[in-house]
């Protein structure tokens, strides 16, 4: 340990979870696509298909609309950078993370929002009709989803009297009975709906659509090509990964390392990968069974998520 009291393991855990997410996020999206194809009776692309696409895109020419400003070029970088900061701050491998001070639920939620806003501004910057339509839709969804996410995590933060994510995760590890309380179950429902909305999955948005008029997330990236598109695709997959990792560690925290030893780290990494992959398979399997909601019904779904999270907070207060 050095003077600041931070061990090599703690810094190593941050590096490991960032590296693991950057390599694993495209594979996770590929896994979801493959599962979906198999359930539809198709062979489907291999799991590494997203990496193949990224490798090809990185070698292609980048284009920029004539009337757009520098913001169009920086938005994909902002999206990836903010998401990597979120990954570094989220307790994924250990609850004793080196970045304890910054690992606050408000910071995490607002950093995720920064990525969405930069992409929405870049889509407006292109001056195309579909870009503007996509960004206005994204803002409408984000404005409804973010409060639900904040309030849902607040219900989990209430028992430990702290908005720090490692403290919340460690608290539910020490009190396993908390996992089956009403506020947990209500918050879990809200969390799942918000994750589907934030990452542009069915029933809110269809990631495989070619129809511009039904697009939300896809409409934002219509003008990107080459390395810029690769960054947007990577950023979106990183967002999905960090949200699923957050879901698994907040509600199923078993396996996360509480001691700073090599064995617990290896176990934590393996368990985290298994939990996130299992959640991704569940989301993909659910997607086969549902259709996309009509756009005007999406606010009702997100309002439902908000009601669930408010009820979660209320029941947390009543039980306390």
């Amino acid at each position: 340990m050095n003077a600041a009291g931070i061990s090599v393991w703690q810094i190593g855990s941050v590096a490991v979870q960032v590296a693991l997410c950057v390599v694993g996020a495209p594979l996770l999206v590929g896994l979801m696509r493959t599962v979906r194809c198999r359930l539809e009776g198709r062979v489907g692309p291999p799991v590494r298909q997203t990496w193949r696409d990224l490798r090809k895109l990185l070698a292609k020419q980048r284009t920029q609309p004539e009337q757009s400003s520098f913001f169009f070029a920086v938005a994909p970088v902002v999206l990836v950078a903010t998401t990597i900061v979120v990954i570094a701050f989220t307790p994924m491998v250990t609850t004793r993370t080196a970045l304890l001070g910054g690992s606050d639920l408000f910071a995490i939620v607002f950093l995720l929002l920064l990525g969405s806003v930069s992409l929405a501004l870049a889509a407006l910057d292109t001056g195309t009709a579909f870009g503007g339509m996509g960004s206005s839709r994204l803002m409408a969804i984000v404005a409804l989803a973010e409060p639900a996410l904040l309030v849902a995590i607040l219900a989990l933060a209430a028992p430990v009297h702290s908005s720090s994510l490692p403290v919340i995760v460690a608290g539910s590890l020490h009190h396993p009975m908390w996992l089956a309380t009403p506020q947990r179950l209500l918050a879990f429902g809200a969390f799942v709906i918000v994750i589907l909305a934030e990452s542009g999955r069915l029933p809110v948005d269809n990631p495989a659509t070619h129809l511009e008029l039904t697009m939300i997330h896809e409409a934002l990236m219509l003008e990107y090509s080459g390395p810029d598109l690769a960054f947007v695709v990577l950023g979106e997959s990183l967002r999905l990964t960090v949200l699923l990792a957050l879901l698994s560690n907040l509600f199923f925290p078993w396996g996360i390392a509480t001691a700073l030893t090599g064995v617990s780290f290896v176990v934590a990494i393996a368990v985290l990968a298994a939990k996130v992959a299992l959640l991704a398979v569940a989301v993909a399997a659910g997607e086969v069974a549902v259709a996309k909601l009509r756009l005007f019904r999406v606010p009702e779904l997100l309002a439902g998520a908000f009601v669930l999270s408010v009820l979660a907070v209320l029941s947390a207060l009543v039980i306390a």
Partner: protein, 165 residues
């Protein structure tokens, strides 16, 4: 012998995709290696005035039976994302401009594929009053897939030859 649905599911899962023919290099098609796709081919489809026969065959290559997606072939919503413009039909006067704009918007390196006999030489529509010409007359075509309409297996074989899978 009648192969029941249950027996088939028990033997190989609920998969309906058939084994596809090997990829082939079409005779006379100078497929540029500079594309360097290696199993990732995104197509922007442009209907320049087709009778929709070719569209039916394109739709069927993405069906569970042929499943072109297993070779990394996908249709995309924007020419910016595409490696090739997949053009069908004779080019009508009204579609010549949009076709040129789409080809211009492709992110380099990219090619133009003419799908079907109409795209190649206007087919039965040659000399019709609304027809500007074949795709070759409007843009430089790097790959031609003949047929009226081409069979799904032929389309997949040609595209696999292009994406090196």
């Amino acid at each position: 012998m009648y192969d029941s649905w249950l027996l088939r599911v028990l033997r190989r899962g609920a998969r309906v995709t058939e084994t596809a023919p090997r990829p082939e290099q079409l005779a006379g098609a100078a497929v540029p290696v500079r594309l360097n796709l290696r199993g990732s081919l995104q197509l922007r489809h442009v209907d320049a005035g087709s009778c929709n026969g070719c569209e039916l065959e394109i739709a069927s290559i993405f069906s569970p039976f042929y499943d072109a997606e297993q070779y990394g072939i996908r249709l995309v919503a924007s020419p910016r994302h595409a490696d090739a413009a997949l053009v069908t039909g004779p080019v009508t006067k009204n579609m010549a401009g949009p076709l040129r704009t789409t080809i211009e918007a492709l992110g380099a390196p990219a090619i133009v594929i003419a799908l079907g006999d109409c795209a190649k030489n206007c087919g039965v529509f040659a000399g019709a009053y609304g027809v500007e010409g074949s795709v070759t007359d409007v843009a430089s075509v790097q790959l031609e897939i003949p047929g009226c309409p081409p069979a799904p297996a032929d389309i997949i074989a040609a595209l696999r030859g292009l994406s090196q899978t």
